[in-house]
């Protein structure tokens, strides 16, 4: 009997869990590395599990959709751990991934918790790699967005799901995309008031492309539940409405919102203020967590929503030998798509090098993938990242929060020093050089540098911001202590 294929999966969200489960089902030896302390990723983030108690008991499952899917993936995952075929490394981050000359993969691991900085550095070698590192909320600078109390819509959600904590009592959600709905719904369920959801799109985009949403009835049912929640909790859902400023002395106190016309420009005189706000959740879609893939130099493209995503073939293989990608890293499309992609990737990753993948083995998932990708395209077209914000910036609006670089400084570098992409903006102003390495400001800096042009120069600029050879900050001591020749 041939030796088992060793598959490393990075990420234990919907895509990573599905990949691990299906690779196990196809006889692979699997190692799953995840930065969180328990499996679930962003979508199935839940309260800390009690030892000896089955996950999924209330209140863990509140606010979760597809919890049944989670439980079945989780059962396969736990069975793998029990059988010794799955090594699960929680609280662990991959800070660098490389391809060896023999085309196997080496991963450098570090602890994800501050307390773990003393842990010895370790290196893992695998035959195949599935990157399922997900995405994070795309942020756009708004005057006042650096006030305490302003956070990403995802963070509002993660606090509720992970800790059962409400980020505020009187919350305004603003941005674009259907993701604002589950956040509002969870806030309401947890007893907070959502004063408004400001959706920048006019939603007519959905009507232009009705076929795609109709092909995914589950999304319709999910949507209907949210709409029911909005009605029940009397949450104002404002279309063609954008947030123009966030006010407050020490922390958020009020927000200004305005209506936009067909071109997305703010309609003069339509501004209004919402007072007594203690939390603002901003979410302008998502941006992929792609740096481990770009480190391999795999082929990527810019998706309709302005995110850089990995190119994959029908079986989730990237252009890099033995490197697969699943979930949001191949295009933002939600958890069901992530699970289907993970399942296909797990199957493909477990195949021996001589074996050709068969569509029939994953026929159901391939269908799901094609329907959900069409849905995602329609969604991105209906919820395009708005442009109004760049005209709305003030000279001293901070764009890069890590290094406190203002819009004025960035525009000066662009106009006076011909810094025409995010990379040269970074070299001349430090925007994107700080702790987050441009994850937050890379998109906005690219927009400003290329003057809102959404073509080649913009795509190139955004792509450059994804080059982060150290994907996670790592203590110098761990680099000093790297093993000379990585063990298997």
């Amino acid at each position: 009997m041939s030796q088992k294929i060793h598959v490393a999966v990075i990420g234990a969200g919907p895509a990573g869990l599905a990949a691990a489960a299906n690779a196990l089902a196809h006889g692979a030896q699997v190692t799953c590395i995840d930065a969180n302390d328990q499996p679930g990723g962003q979508y199935w983030r839940h309260r800390l599990e009690q030892p000896g108690r089955q996950p999924g008991v209330q209140p863990d499952s509140t606010g979760h959709h597809d919890w049944k899917t989670y439980l079945s993936l989780r059962a396969a995952f736990d069975a793998g751990i029990a059988a010794g075929t799955l090594a699960y490394l929680p609280n662990t981050q991959v800070w660098m991934a490389q391809q060896r000359e023999d085309e196997r993969i080496t991963l450098q691991l570090t602890s994800a918790t501050a307390a773990g900085t003393q842990a010895p550095a370790s290196t893992l070698t695998a035959d195949r790699l599935v990157v399922a590192t997900g995405a994070y909320d795309r942020q756009i600078p708004i005057p006042g967005w650096d006030l305490p109390g302003v956070m990403t819509a995802g963070a509002v959600q993660a606090l509720i799901k992970g800790q059962g904590v409400l980020a505020g009592q009187r919350i305004v959600l603003a941005g674009t995309g259907p993701f604002l709905l589950p956040v509002a719904s969870n806030v309401a369920h947890a007893g907070g008031s959502v004063l408004a959801i400001c959706e920048s799109a006019d939603l007519s985009g959905w009507l232009k492309n009705l076929k795609a949403p109709l092909a995914v009835p589950a999304k319709g049912i999910e949507g209907a539940e949210y709409i029911w929640d909005l009605l029940r909790h009397r949450i104002p859902y404002k279309r063609s409405t954008v947030i123009t400023a966030i006010h407050g002395a020490e922390k958020v106190e009020a927000v200004s919102i305005a209506r936009t016309d067909k071109t997305g420009a703010v309609i003069a005189g339509s501004e209004e203020r919402i007072e007594n706000v203690d939390c603002v959740g901003l979410g302008f879609g998502f941006t992929t967590q792609l740096e481990l893939l770009t480190a391999f130099g795999v082929a990527t493209h810019m998706d309709v929503d302005g995110s850089l995503v990995a190119d994959v073939d029908e079986f989730q293989l990237t252009s890099g030998a033995n490197v697969l990608a699943a979930g949001e890293v191949t295009g933002i499309g939600g958890a069901a798509l992530a699970v289907a992609e993970g399942t296909v990737a797990g199957y493909r990753a477990a195949l021996g090098s001589g074996q050709a993948p068969q569509q029939s083995e994953v026929a159901k998932e391939l269908k799901t993938i094609s329907r959900h990708r069409a849905f995602a395209r329609a969604m991105h077209q209906a919820h395009q990242v708005p442009d109004y914000w760049s005209g709305n910036l003030e000279e001293d609006t901070v764009v890069c929060r890590c290094e406190e670089v203002t819009a004025g400084e960035i525009i000066q570098a662009r106009d006076e020093l011909k810094a025409v992409d995010a990379r040269s903006i970074k070299s001349t102003t430090r925007a994107g050089m700080g702790w987050c390495q441009g994850r937050v400001c890379g998109y906005a800096a690219s927009c400003l540098a290329t003057c809102g042009d959404k073509h080649e120069a913009f795509a190139q600029s955004v792509a450059n911001t994804y080059k982060r050879p150290v994907s996670i900050p790592v203590p110098l001591g761990e680099i000093a202590d790297l093993e000379d020749s990585p063990k298997e």
Binding site: M96, Q98, Q108, T117, A295, E403, A413, E416, L417, K418, A419, V420, D421, R423, S424, S427, T428, R430, M433, G434, W435, Q437, R468, P469, V470, P473, V474, P475, L476, G477, I479, A480, L482, D484
Partner: protein, 388 residues
Amino acid sequence: MAQGSDVLIIGAGIIGSAIAYFAAKQGLGVTVLDSAGPASGTSSRCEGNILLSDKELGPELELSQYSLGVWKNDLAEFAQLWEFEAKGGLVVASKESSRASLDRLTTAQRSNGVTAEILDRSQLVDAEPHISPEALSAAYYPQDSQVQPMLAASWLLRLACDAGARFVPNARVTALHQEHGRITGVRSTAGFFAAGSVVNATGTWASNIAGMAEVAVPVNPRKGFVMVTEPLPPKIFHKVYAAEYVDNVGSSDAGLQSSPVVEGTPAGSILIGSSRERVGFDGSVNLEALKAMANNAINLFPFLRDVKILRHYHGFRPYCPDHLPVIGHDERAPGLWHAAGHEGAGIGLSVGTGKLLAQALAGMDTDMDLSPFAPHRFSNQPLVSKES
């Protein structure tokens, strides 16, 4: 035929930008072309040290001293644009043997006008309280300075444009134009540009341009990594490096060498540089290089062990086999000038190079003899006369 400029500079790195500035100041009509934007090559993948401490005696030290004078005097009014700071260098000896070689080096440097003093262990601890207990002594070089290189390159170009120069980005030069055995212009992806003189300031890519004139200018890449830490309150006050580094700089060994240059930046992050290896333009991450740099830096400053690295980057230093830059008119290809191959010192040497070359381009006597840097030192291969 299109109206040409007096001087056409290929390359908007720090060298091309510095030449543009001084040539425009001389009243010459200047056009600068770059295949991308300002400082898109090695000048944005480096550090900004302006060092005298690491230079061996000879023409490079002389050029370094001249260039430091230009930074400090000619460009004094712009110092804050590029964060010029004379923070001083410390070369630390942790072995008896390197201590002895430091003594020898500083004696020789002093006789050539470099300010250098030896600090004993307690003076060293006063200067750098977090230095390793292993450190024995150090040489202190108060003249060692730094600039933020991307700002320096970008602002020099901007100041050149203010003085009348023209910058054309996204113009990759694809051929040199010759008339009657003289280079009189370039073809580029942005069209044809005629010029009285063409300056090759393409750094690590200089041999390509030279090749278009069928002359050899053997500039090759020497890769280096730099690691950047999280921002910290100031803990390192000088440019600190190990005495062994001085040996590496002048080495021709193709293998990996690494000695740390550790320095704090105004923004609080600490730069740990830099390795030296000759691997062509191979951009892959060399963990061995990072590991060696990490160990060296921790040996100098043990507290760095727990400090987090946010990123690393690498660049390709433009180097010549004899470790001297190529500066001046190329007799083998009349009309073509070179200013390239400054290896790991191009930032420091840039403004001196720019001022001297501008003098030469204007037909004036140069402040310093440029003959040690003459392009034709490599071969006497004549220009094969051929229309290109």
